[in-house]
Every structure is written in structure tokens, then in C-alpha cells.
Symmetry: C2
């Protein structure tokens, strides 16, 4: 026992072969004969040899590691994405370096820097700002493949994301078809340069020739029921309050439902509420939440697939590609025809599950 962690050299010394032969044998090179290989394998086993991937990375100029940067992990959908990505990467022999930007550009840049210095082979990133992407585009020059997990497309970077605009459009279209005309929206995206859901909201209103009232658009930075609840209070204090409110994530919607319960508004009889993300709990709120669903597994798998393709490509000048996944509306019991339109609505719907 020369070292706590034996090296190729130690196996070489134990067997009488050179380090090169040992290296070849352990990598099952066909150059090494059967008997030689088995002697070396046996010695490696006895010494409990573990290859030093750091040394290997240095000479091979690839680390088989991928950096994953998320804004934060309050949103369970991002977390699911992370887990599925990690699993897919592990299956391909890649390890995942993980960092959170905490919705902060400086932290994000620090994480990117740390990953580059550690020579990651590629980066998956949910950007803290969907439009300021120059620092990410710069990675192309360093020959580091990147796939964005969300953003406007067309910034010269690969993107695998959801059609958030379409998701929001479907929600508003549905509400308008039910008869709603005053529809509030609580969004968290704009400060981060993500205007997609807001755009979808406005598009749907425009389609139906409903004027856009800026008072009905509340911006709340973050992800928590409390923010949704606050926004609901603001909306209901308006001279002409909405009959339906769309929250850009399920946590907002949960807070909105709570505000309604605490203030005697029955959902959906007196107020329609819609969320976004189809988180597990959205099926268990009172009433169960109408929301927008998409498949985080599909996103993560496509993103990993694309990243590994870019990493393993010999030609590093592949034009960037955008893959957008379609969301769908999940209709549950938090939306209904507005009361003003149907004064004699049966009350049992309000308490049904």
C-alpha cells in the first residue's frame, strides 16, 4: 500500500508492467493480451484502484461534466426539469455541476465563470433574464456548447423551451369564451425580460377586440402564494374589478384562491382563477385549479439530447436551433361563466371538487 489512493504507477509496480500497459489494460484495449489483462485487473481490484478523472480530463481536454444553472428552485417544475436532466446526463456518463442564480445576473455570471474554469463540456441554463443573453452568447466563442431552457428564441443560442405565449393565449381565450371581459393577469416575468405570457394575454384580448387595461396587469417578482394574494387584493380594489384572474404560475393562483376564500368570494361562481405549470398540488386546491400543463420531462430530455449532440459534434459551427414544446390547457373547477352573465347559476358548482 503505497498510497491511500493507488495510481496506475502502483499497479505497474505491483505487476511489473509499465504504466502504459496498465492504462491500456484497464481501458480494455485490444492491444493487451488476455493473461496480461487479467493480471492487471486482479491487481487493480486488490489495490482498490479508482481512476483519477481529473488527471484524465486534463490530458483529454474534456471533463464529461455539464453545468446546470437554474434561477431558483421554488418552482417545482424547474426542479423536475433539473432531476430529469441530471438522470439523462448520468446515463450518458456525464456528471452535473449545479448552481442557482437566484434570479440575479451577477450570480449567474459567477456560476458560468466557475463552470468555464472547471472546463465543463457544456452548459444548460435557465437564464435569469430572457432577453439579456450576451454573456451566454459569448460562450460560443469559447467553444462551450450551451442550451437555454427558456428564453426568446433567435438570440443565436440553442433553445429548448415551452410556448409560454401560446399557453397564456389559450387561458385567456378560454376565459373570454366563457364570457369574461375584465380579465386580470398577475405575472412575474417582465422584470426578467420574460414577456411571453403577458404577450399571449394581450394577443388573446386583441383577437377579441377587448381593450388592454394596464391596471389589470400586476407584476410581482418571485414565486409564492403571498404574492398572488397581494395582487388579488390590488385587483379587487380597482373601480372596475376583474371577473377572472390569470396567474403566471400555480403558486400565484393558490394565493389568489386563498384571498377569495378569506374575502367571501366563491370560486368559480364569483371569480374565475387560472394558474400555470400544472404542479402536483394544483389538482388538490379548493376548487381544483384550471391551469396550463406541459411536460418537463420532454423539455429536459430534448435539452440534454441537443447539448450532448453539440458536445460530441466534431464540427463546432452548427447553427443554433430552437425547439418549442406545446402546452395544453387543463380544465378543472376554478373557471366558470361569470356571474354577471348567469345570475341564476346553480350554487353546487361553487363547492364541488
Amino acid at each position: 500500500m503505497t498510497h491511500i489512493r493507488p495510481r496506475l504507477k502502483d499497479i505497474a509496480a505491483a505487476t511489473g508492467f509499465s504504466t502504459n500497459t496498465v492504462s491500456l489494460a484497464l481501458r480494455s484495449s485490444p492491444l493487451v493480451t488476455g493473461p496480461t489483462r487479467s493480471i492487471i485487473l486482479k491487481a487493480a481490484e486488490e489495490l482498490r484502484y479508482r481512476p483519477n478523472v481529473i488527471a484524465k480530463s486534463l490530458v483529454q481536454r474534456q471533463t464529461r461534466s455539464v453545468g446546470l444553472i437554474l434561477t431558483n428552485i421554488a418552482n417545482p417544475i424547474l426542479v423536475q426539469t433539473a432531476q430529469i436532466a441530471e438522470t439523462a446526463l448520468a446515463e450518458h456518463g456525464y456528471i452535473t455541476l449545479f448552481a442557482t442564480s437566484r434570479q440575479n445576473m451577477a450570480h449567474e455570471m459567477r456560476a458560468i465563470e466557475a463552470f468555464c474554469q472547471r472546463q465543463v463540456d457544456g452548459i444548460l441554463i435557465y437564464p435569469s433574464n430572457h432577453t439579456k443573453l450576451d454573456h451566454i452568447a459569448a460562450l460560443r466563442q469559447l467553444q462551450i456548447p450551451v442550451v437555454l431552457l427558456a428564453a426568446e428564441t433567435g438570440a443565436g443560442i440553442d433553445v429548448v423551451s415551452w410556448r409560454e405565449r401560446l399557453g397564456a393565449f389559450l387561458v385567456i381565450d378560454h376565459l373570454i369564451e366563457l364570457g369574461h371581459r375584465r380579465i386580470g393577469m398577475v405575472d412575474s416575468g417582465k422584470p426578467e425580460g420574460n414577456t411571453e405570457k403577458l404577450d399571449g394575454y394581450e394577443q388573446a384580448l386583441s383577437k377579441w377586440n377587448i381593450p388592454i387595461d394596464p391596471e389589470l396587469e400586476r407584476l410581482k417578482r418571485g414565486y409564492s402564494p403571498a404574492l398572488g394574494s397581494n395582487a388579488m387584493a390590488e385587483l379587487m380594489a380597482l373601480p372596475d374589478p376583474p371577473t377572472a384572474v390569470f396567474g403566471s404560475n400555480d403558486a400565484f393562483a393558490v394565493g389568489m384562491l386563498d384571498w377569495c376564500h378569506r374575502n367571501g368570494l366563491r370560486v368559480p361562481r364569483d371569480m374565475s382563477i387560472v394558474g400555470f405549470d400544472n404542479t402536483e398540488f394544483s389538482a388538490y386546491t379548493t376548487p381544483p385549479l384550471t391551469t396550463v400543463a406541459y411536460d418537463p420531462a420532454a423539455l429536459a430530455e430534448k435539452a440534454v439530447e441537443r447539448l450532448l449532440f453539440l458536445i460530441e459534434a466534431t464540427d463546432k459551427d452548427i447553427p443554433p436551433m430552437s425547439q418549442l414544446i406545446e402546452p395544453g390547457l387543463i380544465m378543472r373547477q376554478s373557471t366558470a361563466v361569470p356571474k354577471s352573465r348567469l345570475p341564476l347559476r346553480s350554487p353546487d358548482l361553487a363547492s364541488s371538487r
Copy 2:
């Protein structure tokens, strides 16, 4: 521009100094004079030099990286723990390698192996099984510091965890004091060797001389409302069903509440329900859930602090230490005196929030 990624050598060539001088200057060694340093810093800036941490790690025999292994990330509390740990580690200049064991010992061992080969300086692990820890204890021989984020103490490994047994005890004690005698428990821990909550449950029953009925203990592997709902159905099919049920996590409790709603049982009038973890949504269920709270930030910070202490200690023979964090009972509106004890209970409590 010799390389895409310039090396010390390139800065040396550009400035006329040796690589050693460049290295010292970039690490702000006092040996290097002011003028020399500024020439070198300027050249490094112009060449957009990024140190290669892999090469540095090889010579310094430390990677400033820590492996983090979680069972899965369905439980938001584990996720919070992970984020706080990552942040704390980043503040100390450590990067986090992340892996999930998916509650599977083979995956867990594979992740540990991958981390060792990558020469992590330490490992934080939420073990897939709380009692089979030999493969983790073995890391001590490899001189790799480990801190467990949950487990029975005393396995010769450092632990930072919660007093789950006490948390469960507080729940059952509370229910008994309210007057409940038939109390069900839905637990997910036993298949993973985690019997702490079940132990706390039985301890509290024993304290009050209530016989333990194995029929009232339902084991469900995993983390989802559906499992809680199923268990509730089983318990209510019993000849002598419980008047209160304790779920070992909030997801179970949410499913239990849902089963009650769907089957006309009013909570807490007809049935008391308690969860565990105090996840954000537990305050927004109908009725708001009585649950057990503890501070995941405290856990993560203590665990990181201990791990960094072990990593930076010169003496590698530090005796293992257990730090257990106290949980507390959060009383909300899902628990009440059992109906059988108070036939004329005011009904407004059942619908209050």
C-alpha cells in the same frame, strides 16, 4: 492569440516573464513587484485568460468541489436544503456536483463512485436507506469527509438531521390530548430503514397506554398525494376506523384531505389530519394543515459548515458528530376534538380557514 483558451504560458510569452512569475502575479503573491503584476494582469485581461481549475486541482490534490446526493426531489424540503447548501458552498468557493439516487442503493453507490473518481473534497448525502450505511462509512478510509443529511445517528458518520422521532411524538401526543384514541399513521420511511417517525408514533401511544394496532400503520413508498389518498381509503375500510390520521409528509396529508372531501368526511369535524414538513402549500389547503415544521436552512447551513470543517481540518481523525435539529408542531385547522367526544361541536369550524 495562440489558443482559444490562453494558458499561463501564453501570458508569459506575451509579457516576457516566466510562467511561474505569471502564476504568482495572478495569485497576487507579495513576491511579485507592483509594475510586474500590473503588466501581467493587463496581458491576462487582454488575452481573456481563465485559469484551468482542472490542472490546478491535479497539482493541489483538491478540487474545491462537493458532491450532493439526494434520494429524489419530489419533497420540496429536500430541494430547499439542496439550494441552501449549494449557495453556502458557493460562498466558500466550492462547486456542487449534484446527483439523485432515486431511492435506489445501486444508483447511490454509482453516484458516490463517480464523485470519488472526480476527487470531490467532500460529500453531503441524504441516504437512500437510513440504516444500511456501510458503503458510506467506507469513505472515511478514503479520507473523504461525509455528512449525512438524515439517518440514525451513531453509525460512525457525521450527521446533521432533524429529530423526526420527536416531531412524530409531538403530533400524536397532541392528537391524544385532543381526545383521539384510534390514530392512524401513513409512513413512507420503513422500506428505507427510516423508522423514526413510526417510533415516535408508537412512543406517544405507549406513553398514554394506548395499544398499538398494526392495522393502523400503513406503509406507502414514495411521496405523492395519491398514496395518502389510497392509505386513507384502507384505513377507513377497517372495522374500527381511526378518528385521526398522521401522514409522514405533507403530500400524504393533502391526499388524505382530498379523500375526506370526496367521501363526505368533514375535516376536522369528522376527521383530524396532520402532515409533516410544513411545505409552503400546507398553509393553503382546505382546511389549512396542522403539520410539523423545522428549518431546512438551518440544516443545510450546519451540514455545510461541518463538512467544510472536516475538509479543511489537518487532522483527519476527527470523531464523528451528530447534530439534531428540533422540530415544532404548527397548529392549523385540520385537527380538532374527535366527534365522538363532542357530539354538538359547532359546524363553522369545519369550513373555516
